[in-house]
Amino acid sequence: MPPKNRHPTSASVQSSTPKSTPSATTTTSSKPLNANTAQDIVQNVWDKYVQRTPQRVKLLDSFMAFLVAVGALQFVYCVIVGNYPFNAFLSGFSATVGQFVLTASLRIQTNPENKAEFETISNERAFADFIFGSLLLHFFCVNFIN
């Protein structure tokens, strides 16, 4: 039987349909991979990301993006205006950086794709570690900024 061919394209290979995920895919499920320009590449990456990643991981990623934004803002402010109370700058910046690292480790440990490597660590355990680490970080930052 001829392979399913939803869109008559030229010589592109069809990839398998994406796995079913809780989030609905908005694209029409075919991957035109005529990635000629950089913009197309980026668009493809983005589309794949939106399709493939679970909702919870996307929540993590959005939090990390938020932290990057806050950290970048603080850093740009420091570059422009100066780092007068240096301990304050370090404290504020390292709050975002540390929180980013903790969130990244939570993402690694709870990503379903990594399930094989983290069989001994349940998601709840990972999340508990994340909470504990975050509280420590917040305590340190508040203490260091005086």
């Binding site: 806050v70 803002l73 109370p85 504020g92 709050a95 917040h138």
Partner: protein
Amino acid sequence: MRWLFSFLVLALLGAVQALSSSGSRLLVVLEELAEKDKYSEFWDDLRGRGYTLSFESPKNDKLSIFKHGERAYDHLILFPPKTKGLGPALTPKLLLEFLKKDGNVLLTLSADHPTPSAIVSLLLELDIHLPSDRNTLVVDHFNYDTVSAGEKHDVLLVPAPKALRADVKNYFEVDGTIAVPRAVGQGLGNATPHLAPILRAGSSAYSYNPKDEAEIVEDPFAVGEQLSLVSAMQARNSARFTVVGSTEMLQNEWFDAKVGAVGGKEQTTTANRAFAAKVSEWTFKETGVLKVGRLQHYLNEGKKNVNESAVGVPEHNPGIYRIKTDVSFTIELSEYTSTHLSPFTPPATDDVQLEFSMLSPFHRLSLTPLAQTANSTIFGTSFVLPDQHGIFNFRVNYKRPFLTSVDEKRQVTVRHFAHDEWPRSWNISAAWVWVGGIWVTVAGWVAFVALWLYSEGVEKGVKKTQ
């Protein structure tokens, strides 16, 4: 307590009636004791001021200015010997020891006999130079006494000395002119600040050897006001050594001689007696003596308005301060004049200064007179400690010509901020951005945790229902 102690001491002083601030035992060294009578008015003046005089000859074997390692006398008057030196008990080394032990010396020189080399070397130790030709005397062809030295011009008539500098008080002010017969002029070296001339020769005076037959004097030792007729040297421990160039000016006949100036109409009486009194008063520490009373420094952090002048501050002279705090310093200074302590007022253009120094002064501030007590002036100032921690000294270093030196040091530790003395982050306006950054992060984190738990529950719930 310091108050009580100083009052006790003052009361005792009053009872004893000694006028010198440093003792009343005076030794006069005269080679020929028969000459003693020529100076009887001088001795009477000294005795009247409370000194006990002893007369010794330098040839005396038993003479010793030290006894058991301490000074046997408080003051010395040395008259010029006719022989080689002042004897084994008064070598230059021993006299310098006497000075180091706070004894005062009045040395007189005479042009009648060549000055012995021992005395020349002693004076050289103090940077006072005598002419190398031992037979010189000071001559002035325009300011001599026409009555007694009309031809030789070797009796100088010198006006009473004025203040050495504008900012130095004059302790030798007398009414009239001073007759200086047959003086040995001295030249003062420049090396130390301890030397000061009390009486200078006039600008037309010069030093020459009367036996020299030449018409003009070539290369004189010194001329004019470089010649010091009465010189004063005050050592670092405030011991005083005065050199009077002419012994004869202390004699009775010159105390009230009638002298006539060149071109003057009438004869005047010399002021030698008064001048000798002033010189001996200064040399034997009756005048020009400063005393330090209470010294206190304290933290002035504005709790209450402290009346620093009269009342002692309860917590004063702490051993440790913190950087960048307000500190006040007061010191009491009195001047001792002959019988009593009186408040010290520095001359108008002069200042008593406080140095706050570690290795070099961080602050050098003028002390203003805040108040006066019956005996003293209280000087004080306030300042902010520098932004440097370490060991500092409060130092009042007041050394002026003709005044005893005041050098009071108090050492304090200045510590840095303690861990809880730093300003809080919300009090530093530049830190608000970072404070905000932290709390924005925390708020985002709380929101994330809420969403995570919520979505976890929903997922589970979804799974369960399915």
